[in-house]
């Protein structure tokens, strides 16, 4: 790093597919953004670079979801087997959404805001055998 790849959604998703959480840093004002931005909304600069995030952060908000999206339903989640959607505040500042794993989703009262977490990359085998990688987090 820094890398030469253009800051685009696809390049960000490709990084995740390769199990790297990348963001952007504004060279002018130092603001971090995840997902990355091509234009800094703090100072309007377009002088941005890719940076790898530490992947460490804390839980800012969460919900254990019983009635899920079709993507999650297809992964086997249900009212009896909820999954945990979370918003994570990364140590670098930005917040990002991810599935929270390594917790008991049937006991939401036991999951606490501000719990330290780290990134994990969740693999899903799609029809046809292709592997999809999504951002996840787990308590440290």
């Amino acid at each position: 790093m820094p890398e030469e790849k253009e800051i685009t959604v696809q390049n960000y998703l490709d990084y995740i597919n390769n199990k790297k959480l990348m963001g952007s840093k504004c060279k002018k004002c130092g603001t971090f953004d995840v997902p990355p931005r091509k234009l800094c909304i703090k100072c309007n600069s377009t002088d941005m670079e890719w940076v790898e995030m530490s992947g460490k952060g804390k839980i800012a908000a969460f919900s254990c979801i019983g009635v899920g999206t079709s993507f999650m339903v297809n992964k086997g989640y249900s009212m009896k087997k909820p999954y945990c959607f979370s918003v994570i505040e990364l140590n670098e500042g930005p917040m990002i959404s991810g599935q929270l794993v390594g917790v008991d989703e049937t006991k939401p009262d036991d999951i606490k805001i501000n719990t330290p977490v780290q990134v994990t990359f969740l693999e899903t085998e799609l029809q046809g055998g292709e592997i999809r990688v999504d951002l996840g987090f787990e308590p440290v």
Partner: protein
């Protein structure tokens, strides 16, 4: 903040009965029903030739009904062809946005009378498809893969609000109880039952099935029981608004012509609209909605009124937590203080500032694209003193407000009404 260049009034408003109307009634049927209901409330009558433009709020007929381009489709149903007609989309604030564009078009001097409306037919598709379609109003790239659903996003906001302000699920239960109490009095509502009545019918069903009869002490007890299943913690089934088919229609007129149609126009004195990042995670703040505060700021400034002047409000209770946050974003209560006011009964129909006398999205129903227009319909009725059954508030309403939120708070339209 600019003022409206000329005054704009509501001269008539109406809606169809909200409910699971499909396939008995589809978009065109419901829209015409709402139109006729609105025409019937214009004191001196109104005809299509009087109307300059037709704005239709609709969120996702493309995905719900495989049909786009609703503007001209609806306009033709009542003989408005070839006048300008267009559809507006702002998720659950779609008809709030259409409403505001109608106000601005009249204030600009281009049009004298605009029909604004909203329509949505959601029950044509399965519950999973409804969930997926609604989820497209959140961020498909960065929230959907994390499992974000609409209840899930508001539930996450609730988790942060609970943590920061000590709000509890009991505070949310009181909102559901109140809104069902109000919806019971609304003949246009999808669920015209109080929570007590819902509990009684559940017990009857349990009896007929020979199952153990639950001994719920009261509504609060029922709402905390397994009969109110967890959808997305901490939100349970009765924290969620309904999946609904419906339409609503409002006629807006310039001051110069309004008196021709009625002696008692309801004036729009404040209109504001705000936006926010599509993703909850991208806003820096999770316990309130900046789009709502911005829309409210603009509307208050335009009208010269403040939160204390507002006597009643229809707010966007797509989930119980959303009503609580709305009361704080609108400045009715300080951050973290709405729960106490709700507990004290201030937002009930006989409270100091009744909220969602229509039953709200919770009980009246939430056909997403029609919701903003339907809020204006209830406000019109309350200000005219014609709300049905036992729903009319007991004081003369001179100043009212509506708050129509889109997505997980990325669009908000706030409107202020005066007599």
């Amino acid at each position: 903040m600019g003022k409206l260049a000329r005054k704009v009034a509501i001269i008539g408003a109406g809606m169809c009965k909200f409910g699971r109307n499909f396939p008995l009634k589809r978009n065109p049927d419901m829209w015409v029903d709402a139109w006729i209901d609105a025409v019937n409330r214009v004191d001196n009558g109104i005809e299509p030739k009087d109307i300059d433009a037709c704005y239709v709020g609709n969120y996702s007929s493309d995905l719900f009904n495989h049909q786009g381009h609703l503007g001209p489709q609806m306009a033709n149903l009542v003989g408005l062809t070839p006048k300008p007609a267009a559809r507006f989309e702002g998720a659950c604030a779609s008809s709030g946005v259409a409403f505001r564009q109608g106000i601005l078009a009249i204030a600009s001097g281009v049009h004298d009378i605009v029909a604004i409306s909203g329509v949505e037919c959601m029950t044509e598709v399965s519950t999973t498809l409804v969930t997926d379609t609604l989820a497209t109003a959140s961020d498909n790239l960065f929230e959907y893969p994390a499992g974000a659903t609409f209840p899930g996003l508001y539930a996450a906001a609730a988790s942060a609000h609970f943590h920061k302000y000590g709000t509890t699920h009991d505070d949310l239960k009181r909102i559901a109880i109140k809104n069902h109490e109000n919806g019971k009095e609304n003949p246009y509502a999808q669920m015209q039952q109080s929570l007590k009545e819902i509990m009684a019918s559940k017990i009857k069903k349990f009896e007929s099935q020979g199952r153990d009869i639950p001994d719920w002490k009261d509504e609060m007890d029922f709402l905390g029981s397994s009969s109110n299943p967890m959808i997305a913690s901490p939100l349970r089934l009765f924290d969620c608004s309904l999946v609904t088919d419906g339409a609503a229609c409002v006629f807006l007129a310039a001051e110069d012509v309004a008196k021709k149609y009625t002696d008692t126009p309801i004036w729009i004195t404040g209109s504001g609209q705000g936006s926010a990042a599509l993703s909850l995670h991208d806003r820096g703040e999770i316990t309130g909605f900046i789009a709502a505060r911005e829309a409210a700021r603009q509307a208050y400034e335009m009208s010269g009124l403040g939160p204390k002047d507002i006597q009643i409000a229809e707010v966007h209770d797509c989930f119980t937590i959303a009503e609580l946050i709305a009361l704080e974003d609108l400045g009715f209560y300080e951050k973290g203080k709405a729960a106490e006011a709700i507990k004290n009964g201030e937002t009930k129909r006989d409270g100091i500032r009744p909220i969602n006398t229509s039953g709200g999205l919770k009980s009246k129903g939430h056909p997403v694209g029609a919701t903003g227009a339907a809020m204006a319909v209830e406000t019109f009725k309350q200000m005219r003193g014609i709300a049905e059954r036992n729903r009319q508030v007991k004081f003369d309403v001179e100043k009212a407000l509506t708050h129509n939120l889109g997505g997980s708070g990325a669009t908000c339209v706030v409107t202020i009404y005066e007599k």
